[in-house]
């Protein structure tokens, strides 16, 4: 038991969980609205899109890279898919839109993957560039405008729910969208890949030390390439789901989300230099950011302060994780000295 406690105390996830718990208590005390069925369901449904983005960003950061292009990528895919289906009077179900998004997302992700994986260019600058290109294609070439109507199949998918939670006191109810199943699927998939496949172990190995991973026989270039393709695909699905849930396609309102998502992933204990991090941490970090964004009103903080709080959260969170990793580094060095 003691061993378990000590082990838990060493893990970043525990602290994030405690912070989330403390924050939820504060919200509960101030508003009495947090631990109500409908609020929990609301937060989970607000987690769908950021959660999907976060998996892609998490895997990329694990290899020591970074991707800031996913909101632009998702916007472009979602807009192109919706627009095309509207123009062709598509009447079918959600499968075709998701499939189209996957294909477009894979192609766009492959562009990132090619430059970063095969040409070994700095990930940050490449994705900044591609983000700008994707945005330019969407607004310039496709002349994106807000689409108030979306195909019926997508609309049905957005409105269908797994179950509905009702708050007995206020009578407010919230739906749990079917799309949440997609999030669960992606997380389970990522979990198995990371834990049980050579590809997944390779991701950690590359993040830890790229040259060592290469010498150990991991296909470094291909792994990186595939990761960016995967990140593009999850981001595109997230984009489509967002369009379905909002019942309209607003081309630019996803842009700028990248900072918060990356912040969430890093808050969850993923090392920005790669090699360390867990899926649980990624989920919890994203949850914390979503909670801060959604619950500011519940504790009576004006929405205008949101940027300040998220910025502070990023700085403090990364400072703590940087401090921990330097401490671990000196500890290791000391041990080595003692051994010598």
């Amino acid at each position: 038991m003691q061993k378990l406690v000590r082990k838990l105390l060493q893990r970043n996830e525990t602290y994030i969980f405690l912070i989330i718990f403390a924050l939820s208590l504060v919200i509960q005390v101030r508003s009495g609205q947090f631990y109500t069925p409908n609020n929990i369901v609301d937060i989970l449904s607000a987690m769908i899109v950021p959660g999907l983005f976060a998996v892609g960003a998490f895997l990329v950061i694990l290899t020591g890279g970074i991707d800031v292009s996913f909101p632009a990528l998702a916007s472009l895919t979602a807009y192109a898919t919706t627009k095309y289906l509207l123009d062709t009077n598509y009447e079918g179900n959600i499968l075709i839109p998701i499939l189209m998004a996957l294909v477009i997302g894979a192609i766009l992700g492959a562009v990132n993957g090619f430059f970063i994986g095969y040409m070994n260019l700095p990930a940050m600058i490449v994705t900044l560039g591609t983000a700008s290109v994707f945005k330019g294609i969407m607004q310039g070439t496709l002349e994106s405008k807000q689409l108030a109507v979306i195909p019926s199949g997508m609309k049905d998918f957005g409105t269908s729910s797994l179950f509905t939670a009702t708050n007995a006191q206020s009578g407010l109810s919230s739906r749990m969208p079917v799309a949440f199943l997609v999030v669960i699927f992606v997380y389970v998939l990522a979990f198995f890949v990371l834990r049980y496949t050579i590809l997944g172990r390779g991701i950690y190995a590359i993040g830890g030390n790229e040259n060592a991973a290469y010498n150990a026989g991991y296909k470094v270039k291909r792994t990186k390439f595939l990761l960016y393709v995967f990140a593009g695909m999850t981001a595109s699905v997230a984009g489509i789901i967002r369009v379905c849930m909002m019942q309209q396609c607003h081309p630019t309102n996803m842009l700028g989300m990248e900072m918060n998502i990356i912040a969430g992933v890093v808050l969850g204990g993923t090392a920005i230099v790669g090699g360390r991090g867990t899926l649980t941490g990624c989920f919890l970090g994203t949850l914390l950011i979503v909670m801060v964004e959604n619950s500011m009103i519940l504790i009576g903080v004006p929405v205008i302060w949101k940027g300040v709080f998220v910025g502070l959260l990023i700085v403090i969170g990364t400072a703590v994780s940087a401090y921990q990793s330097t401490k671990a580094g000196t500890k290791r060095a000391k041990k080595r000295e003692e051994a010598a």
Partner: protein, 342 residues
């Protein structure tokens, strides 16, 4: 390998090879100016057009200089736009307060405002520097976070709207021209000269390069890496703050989301100017040329009304990636189009 006839050619080749980035930029620039001369001569080659260009580029030019010094150390500064906007907003509010009801402002305030702006830049830059050097947060994340924070603070100060009702004395004096040269450009020249001096004539510049090349070696050779990093980010903060002051004058208003695409543009300029994103390499002359080239390109594109302004972001992104690929080929000595030697 080369016979005598190719002697002149190889000489040119050697000159080209001595500074590839510079010559590449100069060639692109000449091509662009020729292209503009052929297509839109009467609209592009006017004194007013050039004066506008020289008044416009200092705002992002100053920010690019800041990003440049950070990138030479192997870091990056993504908070420039946030710092610029926050400075602009707070100074606009200050001038509003100072002028009161009368809407009059004595010229001494312009000096005060600039000194305060530099102070704000120093403080914000020092925060970045401390986060990067002492707390060991990777520069990308640290400046991303502080950038968000400063933008957020600007949003809180303005309540999300633009501040415009401050005395026109300020905008008027900055938008003025001295002997036909815009004041903004003069400010930029002063900063650029200081930067060039710091980089090439002082030990600080040499230390900067060493840190960028290999931080560990720099540490072991006795450099106070933390100090130098804090200085560098402070310098970048000052540049951004001055950029913000020029933005304030150019728009005659301040808002938290002005110039949001300048982050990308600054990185593009710095990479285009031959600074290596991994640090250790870079010259101010290349960056200055790149700043002017980017402005000339954008102004030129704007002369074609049929090209939607949304294409600019596409073009910048594509140019950025293209330049990186080009650098990749030259650095790895991959020759695509040369004859294979027997």
């Amino acid at each position: 390998m080369e016979n005598k006839q190719a002697g002149a050619g190889s000489k040119i080749k050697n000159i080209y090879k001595s500074d590839r980035h510079m010559w590449r930029l100069i060639i692109i620039m000449i091509l662009w100016f020729v292209f503009m001369a052929v297509t839109k001569f009467s609209k592009f080659y006017t004194v007013v057009n050039f004066q506008t260009m020289f008044a416009q580029f200092p705002e992002f030019g100053l920010m690019s200089l800041g990003v440049m010094v950070c990138m030479i150390t192997g870091g990056i500064d993504l908070s420039t736009v946030g710092v610029a906007n926050m400075t602009g907003i707070s100074m606009a509010l200050l001038m509003q307060w100072a002028s009161g009801e009368s809407q009059e402002l004595s010229p001494i305030w312009i000096l005060i405002v600039f000194v305060l702006a530099i102070l704000i830049g120093m403080v914000t830059g020092a925060i970045n520097g401390i986060l990067v050097s002492k707390v060991h947060i990777p520069p990308i994340l640290a400046t991303l976070g502080t950038g968000q924070l400063f933008t957020g603070l600007g949003l809180v100060m303005t309540n999300g709207s633009a501040i415009s009702g401050f005395p026109s004395t300020y905008a008027f004096s900055i938008n003025n021209r001295v002997a036909g040269i815009p004041v903004q450009f003069l400010i930029f020249v002063v900063v650029a000269i200081v930067m060039a001096f710091l980089l090439s004539k002082t030990t600080y510049g040499k230390k900067l390069m060493l840190i960028g090349t290999n931080e560990n070696v720099a540490k072991f050779s006795g450099l106070k890496v933390d100090h130098i990093l804090i200085k560098t980010y402070t310098l970048s903060g000052i540049c951004s703050a001055l950029g913000g002051m020029i933005m304030l004058a150019n728009y005659n208003s301040a808002r938290s989301d002005y110039g949001s695409n300048y982050t990308l543009q600054c990185i593009l300029i710095v990479v285009l100017g031959g600074v290596s994103p991994n640090g250790g390499k870079g010259k101010i002359s290349g960056v200055l040329l790149a700043i002017f080239l980017v402005r000339a390109l954008e102004t030129g594109i704007n002369r074609f009304p049929q090209i939607s302004s949304y294409y600019i972001s596409l073009i910048w992104g594509a140019v950025l990636i293209f330049v990186m690929v080009l650098n990749y080929f030259t650095e790895n000595n991959v020759k695509l189009f040369s004859k294979k030697k027997a």
